[in-house]
Symmetry: C2
Subunit: 334 residues, 2 copies
């Protein structure tokens, strides 16, 4: 894709690059380059063009388009290609439909807005244009379905690390606390900024595909009444507008690393320490809601399968694989 290639060449350089060099290196006509540059201008990129010197990009817009993301992805990344949508019902739905039709491992589905964004257990997820990152990563791991819950914890640790990093870069003076609420909410200063919905299609002993959907509130300033006390955005917590592609790229780098760790060991033993260091549950009272009733205890951390270890009042420890876990002092649980 021409736009991707041009962005690759011009990004992160202070040199001007001539149209002729671009033509030559990409093996295309000047008209083709000129057309692609014009398209990029229309999308919001600002170019400096100096006679006899060439082009330079002066300003990057806050875009999450195919060319903006693909032009910054490593060869070795888990994300191999990007499908961008101005509007979609839900990126998870789109990813699942595409997966049924053969879409490849490592395809990232990302949308400017979702008309039917979903959270876990069918909950609604508000996802207006420009205010956040609504994306789903399609993976086709050669695993049995029992391993799938670990992938959602890997996505959580990668998202938390990415968010911590871009917020620190954007406002090093603002003290923010980026934490994970088990299994995969990302909270900043005690409010949720990111939710993860992982879905899979599988046979009994092999996964067809996994779709890891992330909703990250980046610039959101207004929340629905039902969530306004527990939800927030990176902007609301840092006072800085962070470019969404930076967050996607930071996530991609972290996810690639942790996914590799997971594949080395087929468990979370190499990820566990980092995950637990960010786990807001640790040492706090939690209420576990199960089919057979509720109980409370103190969360100790996760094990190598990603299960939450909870010490009950009688001192015994249980490992929670599924279910709702409320953390005292968070999301209104007092």
């Amino acid at each position: 894709m021409m736009k991707t290639e041009i962005l690759k060449k011009l990004r992160n350089t202070n040199e001007y690059i001539s149209g002729q060099t671009i033509c030559k290196e990409l093996g295309v006509s000047r008209t083709a380059v000129w057309k692609a540059v014009n398209q990029l201008k229309e999308e919001g990129y600002e170019f400096e063009a100096v006679q006899n010197k060439g082009y330079k990009i002066a300003k990057y817009p806050d875009l999450i388009t195919k060319s903006e993301i693909e032009s910054q992805i490593d060869q070795a990344a888990v994300i191999k290609n990007v499908k961008f949508f101005q509007e979609v019902d839900s990126t998870n739905n789109e990813a699942k439909r595409s997966a049924e039709n053969g879409a490849a491992d490592g395809t990232l589905f990302i949308a400017e807005s979702q008309t039917g964004g979903r959270g876990r257990r069918g909950k609604n997820w508000v996802s207006p244009a420009g205010s956040g990152i609504w994306m789903s990563l399609l993976l086709r791991p050669q695993l049995t379905p029992t391993y799938a819950p670990m992938l959602t914890l890997i996505a959580a640790v990668a998202a938390a690390e990415a968010i911590a990093q871009v917020m620190t870069d954007a406002s090093p003076d603002v003290c923010t606390q980026v934490k994970i609420k088990w299994p995969n909410d990302i909270v900043v200063n005690g409010r949720k900024v990111c939710g993860i919905l992982t879905e899979m299609s599988a046979e009994m002993d092999s996964i067809h595909f996994v779709v890891i959907g992330l909703g990250i509130n980046v610039n959101t300033t207004e929340f629905e009444d039902s969530i306004k006390d527990i939800a927030s955005s990176l902007y609301a917590e840092s006072g800085q507008h962070i470019k969404r592609a930076e967050i996607v790229l930071a996530f991609e780098k972290a996810f690639t690393r942790y996914y590799q760790y997971f594949q080395d060991k087929q468990d979370l033993s190499k990820v566990q320490d980092t995950y637990n260091s960010m786990l807001i549950n640790v040492g706090r009272q939690v209420r576990v809601t199960e089919q057979n009733g509720d109980f409370t205890g103190i969360a100790k951390g996760t094990n190598e399968k990603g299960e939450l270890i909870v010490q009950k009042q009688d001192g015994s420890e249980v490992c929670i694989a599924a279910g709702e876990v409320s953390v005292r002092g968070l999301y209104g649980y007092v």
Copy 2:
């Protein structure tokens, strides 16, 4: 559906039932009854109509249509409604597509022929018109994905029981051995007559839906070269043509019972003895093919999770949850 209601009334009775009685009891016109009876005649049902007495069905064709099956299903059955197709790519695909669009728990998708029938791990499953039963049951159990593999064993035990029953009814003098090869092949006299492909769509801690697909070779007489030594059909083993709807109904009754047992205990403890009594693996040498290599041992049976217990040569026992298991003396493993 009128045809279903008429079949319900006329089935299993030696009495003639008058058109007037049918009209009155169903609250419809004589023309409507006459039309439905004509449609049934076209499908192959043979009616005896006697003046002043009414209708009686003299002969039932070998059909697996919506009305043929629904007219025989209990109120309490797991199967709540039937979608019949003359031809479909694969009943599992059709069930999955319908499930994504909201199809209800307990819908049975059944086809006269499949153009792209699938077995486990993407293997091809030949499914020509009239020669077998190609069907998929959609379930929406409130379970975590870890329980899903048990459902495929329940389907296996129900299919084996159904096949044993209809074959015994059809030819009590023919000695046949109906067995299960772990996890879910049904073999008669050492040859495979039924395969099961269970697929699911799930979040990490809850199942959206499960599709249990069964392919039963009923009247097949010719097999592709690649499978002709290991595959068979009920007709080939018994010399009898068994009506396919009978098998579907026998499966439905057995499945309903075993599914209830499973739901009572959330494990296979109440199903295990029956399953193991039909398990061909028991006491025989098996070769287990895993990612880390193969090993051989003696199969002991399954545990309450449905895992196969294998005693290795050093005497230690391992539980196999997934993977290929060959049984010595079966399917060409000598």
